[in-house]
């Protein structure tokens, strides 16, 4: 015991320190606000223009009729966009997931760093280059002509690296303890990966797939080379039949000197934005966890 403890000296910041802190605080908040306004403002502006201009063009005919010259509706384009995007996804999702599983789970091979590097390079390749590549190889060389098949393959090549890398990341988040638990029960690699790791990582994997879908819906350049455009609904042929899509309507019709063409372009922009928005909302909902199923290792 001995002497009673002296009261602790109260620490008071010197006034110039307080002033400096106030200024830094103000600057920090100010810059954050400016950044938010730039991003949020741009977003709101785009949405406002698309909705206001597209709104005039929106009517029931837009979704019930196909394009006729520079008028009519966009049914063919809406249908084409969905077909091409899902066609691309059917090709890229299994392949991308398989590559992601390889990278995350079987990293010991020499191939893994090569695949990872190539995936990163593929993300950086301009989409128009991929479009041209598909034009030369698929449309011309293989004689598929402008078609659903060629367009889907082009979109699949573009989405592949996203699905691959997000799957890899999601699988890497699966804690080691779960894998060990499964291996300790005598499970084989396939059952550990497909029975434990993939289900656990599924929200992350789905987010990557939805991101790829959103990118596919918004792509233009690769489709110009591979799908061309069509005023008619799809008849079900995979090759030798061009198909319409929304981004073409935006790209081609906005430069035409007709008010009806402009209206269609804005309506198409409205639909593309709507689809991407819906996909984003869906991917957020995938990540929201069911109550009572909270994963203890996330935050």
């Amino acid at each position: 015991m001995g002497t009673a403890a002296a009261p602790l000296p109260r620490i008071r910041a010197a006034s110039h320190h307080r002033l400096r802190r106030t200024i830094l605080d103000f600057l920090g908040w100010g810059m954050s606000a400016i950044a938010f306004l730039l991003l949020g403002g741009a977003m709101v502006w785009i949405l406002a223009v698309v909705v206001m201009r597209g709104y005039h063009a929106l009517s029931l005919t837009v979704i019930t009729h196909v394009t006729e010259g520079y008028g009519g509706g966009l049914l063919n384009a809406i249908e084409g966009t969905l077909i091409l995007a899902f066609g691309g996804l059917i090709l890229s999702a299994p392949l991308g997931l398989a590559a992601g599983i390889y990278l995350a789970e079987f990293d010991r091979g020499r191939l893994a760093p090569v695949i990872r590097f190539l995936a990163d390079v593929l993300v950086g390749v301009p989409s128009i280059v991929i479009g041209y590549f598909c034009y030369v190889t698929l449309v011309e060389r293989l004689g598929w002509k402008f078609s659903v098949a060629a367009g889907s393959v082009a979109l699949a090549i573009i989405s592949l690296p996203y699905i691959c890398r997000t799957s890899e990341m999601a699988l890497r988040q699966v804690p080691r303890a779960l894998r060990e638990g499964a291996y300790a029960l005598g499970a084989r690699d396939s059952r550990v990966v497909l029975g434990i790791c993939v289900p656990t990582a599924l929200p992350g994997i789905l987010t990557g797939v939805l991101l790829a879908l959103a990118i596919s819906v918004g792509e233009t350049a690769p489709l110009i080379y591979t799908a061309d455009w069509s005023n008619y609904l799809w008849t079900g042929h995979l090759t030798k039949e061009p198909i319409g899509y929304l981004t073409y309507a935006i790209w081609a019709f906005i430069t035409e000197p007709f008010a009806s063409a402009h209206a269609l372009a804005y309506a198409a922009a409205f639909f593309v934005t709507l689809f991407v928005l819906l996909i984003s909302i869906a991917s957020r909902m995938v990540l929201v966890e069911r109550p009572g199923w909270r994963r203890p290792w996330t935050r």
Binding site: R179, A184, L185, G186, R188, G195, G292, W293, P296
Partner: protein, 276 residues
Amino acid sequence: MGATSDAETICPTGKTISSEPQGPLPATAAKISVRHLNFFYSRRQVLYDIGLDIPEKKITALIGPSGCGKSTFLRTLNRMFETVPYTRVEGEVKLDGEDIFGMSVVDLRRRVGMVFQKSNPFPKSIFDNVAFGARVNGLKNRDKLREVVETSLRRAALWDEVKDSLRKSAYSLSGGQQQRLCIARALAVDPEVILLDEPCSALDPIATAKIEDLLFDLVGSCTIIIVTHNMQQAARVADQTGFFLLGRLIEFDKTEVMFKNPSRKETEDYISGRFG
């Protein structure tokens, strides 16, 4: 090779220690017998010349300070170390006289189950957690699965607490219940040996007591090896106790001998709390 031949190491107190001498195989049936086991992480040797016989249908405890190699030793018994790259073993481990490094790792792990330090239920329902082990064994019949799940949960003394919520997430259980769920999951494979790696280190005394009671129930049907930091736990539950220090097995004997009359100075120092 040089590291293996000199069987002596300097312990933290500055004295020279050596591994327990390894006699020939005993006449009594040992479930697992280990001879001259060396273990390496990359170039670093962490186990030196381990030799012991784990008696069948008994509880064997492994004690020792952190980093002494007891968990590593446990992980060699079901070859779990193989999931970590750059590991290597030398020596002999036999399960019922059969070389474990010669058998398929899948078969080995089905015979030698494991429960980990931190409970690691899968993000599935309580039912599916337990059924996973049975499904790994190839069981598909729904009624049979239900039966195995119930039996395993009963054996793990968890059935009465969860029988009405089998479809709920395993994460809705408390820490102690989750650990018993992991034991039930291991039991669903019907293993001959169960390895427990500090299963109670994250549990409160009541949950710990439940797990210890459970071990007494299980030992009639399987061989149990438990690694523990808690010497009282070893004294309470184990028939045999092994003391590890700096990668060597210093002493391995009946628990009461180890705690009352250890033959080695290091064991006595550790048990009486002089270091560790």
